[in-house]
Subunit: 408 residues, 2 copies
């Protein structure tokens, strides 16, 4: 019997009417003869409410308690969907992370799945064609028997991990958009839905700000070669298939243009230009769990000093500043400048590997619109630039056109 994993995000289970719709969608797949495992998120808004409770009650909460609290949203949805399915005559039961169990490490708040024991779920597939409805986002720290959660968007990872454990034909991620787009349709009206995208591109797009899939879930899908489809839970049509590169016949130069507003730029002016200065700056930041993204060190300009510019997530900005100020004497910079009004724009495509001039086309398109580039970083299949936030929309639309991505 083919096995299908279906994941429904928060907007797809936002209220009881939508949960009933999801039950209908699952029933159709079940009627078609597949063995079905469903992963559900919390009803939209619930997880944020729970996180607000925790941060209100204590700024630095015990993450084991945080996990106990925020995992409850998925618990409710899994039970409600199981009941809705039973009500349609489809055998179903809910499974919480600790019941299966979905065994994770002990990194509460952002745990990693170690294994999923699917024997009992498989047995119920065979004996009664029972649909397994799993609460997403949660697992069990086996040693201490405590609930863990996988970090924001973790239900995507739950779904891909389960699809891998069940050796499912496909993992369908139902969401509130029709698939993966060449850019954000709210900003770029001529953005197109992609029929297929490679794991590598999807991974870059997720890392560079496209919110359609959690980065870690794409990594896992790529590693275990899980076929993932992103599709709409509100419209009955195919979405975007995330696949191996060799499944894509004609590869475009660039598949997508993304942006991320969650960026802040830090410049340390006039840092002594000597070996070990980068380590002296970024070591304490790493210790403070600040994730540094783009880094630029200017050519030494004045008598053995240089400027160091880098970006961090907006949420880490205050922490970054206080770490740097605490180490000011040792770092010996003249001035610290922080700018949260920046946006990172990226163009992504595996076609870059075999074509030159991709970055050049980007710089030119931005120059034509008078947009100043502040920082550049590149990878094998991506070019990112940091620009002033006010140019975000203009840059996205210009690049979308420049790479020939506009719909007819």
């Amino acid at each position: 019997m083919p096995c299908l994993v279906m994941k429904f995000g928060g907007t797809s289970v936002a209220d009881l009417a939508r949960i009933r719709n999801v039950a209908q969608t699952v029933k159709r797949a079940h009627d078609d003869g597949a063995d079905i495992a469903v992963i559900v998120s919390a009803m939209s808004g619930v997880t944020n409410q729970l996180i607000d409770y925790v941060s209100d009650i204590a700024p630095l909460a015990d993450l084991r308690e945080y996990d106990t609290i925020v995992s409850s949203g998925e618990q409710v949805t899994s039970g409600l969907l199981a009941i809705a399915l039973q009500n349609l005559g489809v055998p179903a039961r809910s499974w919480l992370g600790w019941q299966i169990p979905v065994v994770t490490d002990d990194a509460h708040g952002s745990a990693r799945i170690q294994r999923i024991d699917v024997d009992e779920i498989r047995r119920r597939f065979e004996e009664e064609r029972q649909v397994a409805v799993l609460a997403g986002f949660q697992g069990l720290e086996k040693g201490r028997q405590r609930i863990t959660t996988l970090g924001r968007g973790g239900s995507d990872t739950s779904a891909v991990a389960l699809a891998s454990a069940l050796e499912a034909e496909r993992c369908d991620i139902y969401t509130d958009v029709e698939g993966v787009y060449t850019s954000d349709p709210r900003i770029v009206p001529r953005a197109r839905k992609l029929d297929r995208i490679t794991y590598e591109e999807m991974l870059e797009m997720a890392s560079q700000g496209a919110k359609v899939l959690q980065t870690r879930s794409v990594e896992m899908a790529m590693k275990h070669r899980v076929r993932v489809q992103v599709l709409s839970s509100f419209e009955d049509k195919p979405g975007t298939l995330v696949v191996d590169e060799d499944e894509i016949v004609e590869q475009a130069l660039v598949s997508g243009v993304t942006y991320s507003r969650d960026e802040a730029k830090i410049t340390l002016q006039s840092v002594p230009d000597r070996p070990g200065v980068a380590a002296a700056i970024f070591g304490p930041l790493a210790d403070a769990a600040v994730n540094v993204d783009m880094i630029v060190q200017n050519i030494s300009a004045e008598n053995g000093h240089t400027d160091m510019t880098f970006t961090v997530g907006n949420a880490d900005l205050q922490r970054t500043i206080s770490v740097l100020e605490k180490n000011r004497e040792q770092l010996a910079y003249r001035e610290l400048k922080a700018d949260p009004n920046v946006v990172k724009v990226s163009v992504i495509g595996v076609g870059m590997r075999s074509h030159a001039g991709v970055a050049q086309r980007m710089f030119q398109a931005l120059a034509e619109k008078g947009i100043n580039i502040q920082v550049i970083s590149t990878s094998e299949i991506k070019v990112s630039v940091l620009i002033a936030a006010e140019y975000a929309e203009l840059a996205l639309r210009s690049l979308h056109t420049a790479y020939g991505l506009d719909s007819a």
Copy 2:
């Protein structure tokens, strides 16, 4: 080290400010040197919201899923209180029913506790003086590893069962009233808080409509001789102690006057007066899980026929009528009359055992106010009457005065 169990109901943990207050109350007891286990309910309104979800999604829901869903409210509160305690420097952790475990039978929706494994909680008392914060109302069906719940008000039972397992000095039930009153103060302004009450009286008061403690929790306290105190979480003064009869020096004739509006009266007119008729009526009702309370069979009046009157819970009224109508031919009654506009008023006191005339004083007090008694039922320490609902307040106040319960 003395051990204290403290239970906080839904209004005591209604929002984050109140949860912080609860943490302060627990901290004071902890500072005084006791080992503390806390039981929490869901934030007020949460459980009802979850129950509404379930009944909206399917009228006859799988009770295993119901339990998975409605148990989540206590899960959230237990985590939040653990964090609030840690924030005050008090070592604490949350415990869910499945983690301890609180082992129950498989009667989902109204499960009974079979045992509580307190070894780990005790070890943490000894090693780090850690406060155990238990999610109330929930347990684990051990065989199938599924969450169970104990029925409405089940957190009281969780608390008493834990106090028994821990051999606690006392089980303090914090609520939104100052203790157990001689009658409902909202209706009887001269009602007084009782300093002490016997288990037997508390049990009758809980069964007869006083909402201060769940009936099953009182049964359990009586059976295991757990000293229970009911007190206010908003005011720092002693509440009502529920104790053995021999701990009460001067016993009043009547300790309380209660009422219950959750009553409906059914009369079957002209039923054949022959052996087995009661079984024929009440057998099918028991099969339909209808709980029949008061029963009166009139003296046979006309040629071998009699009238049968009884009361059921308001929520069961429609089900009762449909069961009786389905069996109409067999039961051969002439007419079925149903009246939901009734209230049951009870006077309760262990003093009745040794004094005559208690019921008579009740009948007289009601007669003086022109209140007609429709049904009477008595037990060793209680007299209940069913009267028209519109007389409820008048009856309560009159009886409160007649038995000398009014405050000075």
